[in-house]
Symmetry: C2
Subunit: 409 residues, 2 copies
């Protein structure tokens, strides 16, 4: 819909991050030392429809297991988040802590425990100290305010170098609807620091089942279409709360202009957040879109795209600004998808480097110029069908090795 | 068999690399400038049984396609190899060159063209100049000698820092049988330089079909169980020639002591060559064995092992000598295999860091000591069954990024 607009927001002006009917707070709870924000609370003044997408890893952190349980009702009212310790691989003790901290928040806010989601990001295998929450949760509740979201975005960070926020507004039934998104994540798993987290708040009114479908679709083309290093964390979580405070008639079916408009706005928001994660990938100097087209199925396109985007050889070549199409071609070849190598075209932005499987060496200088940019598109056309898929990735630099190799030394 | 022995060989004493009935030569053909060995020939004085294993990539180089064609008869007598240009993604012109150079060698040696294998490794997408071969092949044939294999091992190198040779001898039917193996490969694909190549020569007498089975089995546990960066090249090739010159009764069935003895010797040889490739991995400072055991199927163990061994986060942690079991656990979790996280044990050599899914932090100092070694084993026990699998890999260092990012600049 033409009335959708991205709203430029600054973390320096907390008022810009408000969403009607939502409050937030963040504190320095001592998990990461004295001087870092490391615990935060998001609160909806009314019970809200809740949608959630969690890690597909077999190794799920305690808060993920609890979150999946609490999502059953499709309803939520609060998100309690901490950084520093992931509460993953933490056994029965970790599970008990997740449950107890949700209960603390529920009691302090006067909401049901099942309406509280708990999220953690940080070191795997360590235990969170209940004392941090016994002291922290009351402080968070006391500090709640509509201007608290910038601090929440900062408290979620681990190796992120910038806090990530996006805001979109649109009109539904004559009312202005706001969607605010926060995200963290810089590698899929950090130096024992885990996770991509994103929390999205809207005052739109949307039925829980529909909200879940909308979030799944939006995640598919955003958070599930990025890769820094191919790793999926034990804690990955995306939550979407819709509290209906905007006051329009509730949206209950996808086949309505209102639902389509909201979906489009949500997808723009999640895509922009996802791109911010990639651009802040550990050591990243380039944002690379890998587009595979002309595939006979979307799944084929995805398999090839993921293989290229995760190839260390491709990623180091991008870091070196080397238009090394041989590595792209070779990565495509090992993706487990049958194709005719003599039909393949490869482009860097609009510069064609491979035509029907053969290199166009005359274009190499132009392609190298493309790679000198901070942001470019690699297109592989299989000429085997009509399906396509895109994935966003970053290069592999010295700093990636430094961040991940030297972290604890 | 107790009579099998590894034979220590030195590249400085070419006589140590002899195999009865085989000759070899290498020259500076000018493909890689004036001063590097870049073309070589291996010749069996008698037609030999031939076994071959080629890349599974969809993007197969011209010599691979020709090699698969020539392997049909199970017979071979010569291998012509060049480094510098891979003759991959080279279209009809590349295919014609491969065929023509095989014909040149066949004519000069007086053998059938189908008894000649051609192998190339180097830059993808460029064309080889026929003039290099028109001049080079006669020079190679003229230079053939039983002491030429050290030079061949050097001529095959691309970014390899050392030439890789292994020799084993055993007794079959009262005769001494020698197996000599040469290999190259340092990343699975180099900076546009491709490929793992290995050529194995024996004077044993083995029927072609059996030889092929033996090679497949040996490759499975050696060259197919190593990874530097998860990439499979367009040119990967392993060839095994058995010329029967040792004079024992031909081996024709696997269920004989002679076949078992040869298989065991062959596996030792290929495993040692494979480990040399990993140890010479681009920028590698550590040789890491990832062992997954207690799996309900060998395939599950392999999937988890490969995911860990290719995880950049795991590999950078190894470079940083950080006993970061959380990354191992998280990589296992995303491998697409169902398991109970509460049963998992993880060890660094004999030091247990995870017991029933929980970290044993008291052992971290001891585990860190293990990681300071050049060579260690990471064991993941799922306690879900009796199957196991091992893969060999190396760490991911600054130098990997340097070699692969800066290669052409």
């Amino acid at each position: 819909m033409s009335n959708e607009k991205k709203v430029a927001v600054s973390l320096d002006d907390p008022a810009e991050l408000m969403v009607p009917g939502f409050q937030a707070a963040a504190i320095k709870a001592g998990i990461r030392g004295k001087d870092r924000l490391d615990m935060a609370l998001i609160y909806s003044e009314k019970p809200a429809a809740l949608a959630g997408v969690f890690t597909t890893s077999q190794v799920k952190a305690a808060p993920v297991l609890l979150g999946m349980e609490h999502l059953q009702g499709g309803r939520g009212q609060a998100i309690l988040v901490n950084s520093g310790v992931a509460n993953a691989c933490s056994g029965a003790q970790g599970m008990e802590l997740a449950r107890n901290t949700a209960a603390m928040a529920a009691q302090a806010l006067g909401v049901k425990i099942t309406d509280v989601q708990v999220c953690s990001t940080g070191v795997i295998g360590e235990q969170l100290d209940p004392a941090w929450f016994a002291k922290g949760v009351p402080a968070l509740v006391a500090g709640l305010g509509s201007d608290g979201f910038a601090q929440v975005a900062r408290a979620m960070m681990t190796t992120d170098t910038v806090a990530k926020v996006e805001k979109v507004s649109l009109e539904i039934g004559g009312r202005e609807v706001t969607i605010l998104g926060l995200a963290k994540g810089a590698g899929m798993i950090m130096p024992n620091m885990a996770t991509m987290l994103s929390f999205i708040m809207t005052d739109g009114a949307i039925a829980p089942d529909l909200l879940q479908s909308m979030l799944l679709k939006a995640v598919e083309r955003s958070f599930n279409a990025i890769t820094v290093d191919g790793d999926t964390s034990t804690n990955d979580t995306v939550l979407l709360l819709a509290n209906g405070v905007a006051g329009h008639a509730p949206i209950t079916a996808m086949a309505t202009p209102e639902a389509q408009a909201f979906q489009q706005a949500l997808e723009r928001l999640t895509r922009n957040l996802a791109l911010k994660i990639v651009a802040d990938g550990e050591g990243a100097t380039k944002l690379i879109t890998v587009r595979v087209q002309g595939a006979s199925s979307r799944r084929d396109a995805e398999k090839i795209g993921r293989t290229i985007a995760n190839s260390p050889l491709f990623k180091t070549a991008c870091f070196g600004e080397d238009a090394n199409w041989g590595r792209i071609f070779a990565a495509a070849g090992r993706a487990g998808v049958a194709f005719e190598q003599n039909r393949v075209d490869i482009f860097f932005d609009a510069v064609q480097m491979v035509e029907q499987g053969l290199g166009l060496f005359a274009n190499e200088a132009a392609a190298t110029e493309v790679l000198k940019q901070d942001d470019f598109v690699v297109t592989v056309d299989l000429h085997a069908g009509q399906q396509s898929w895109e994935i966003y990735t970053c290069d592999l630099s010295y700093d990636y090795v430094k961040i991940n190799g030297d972290y604890r030394s």
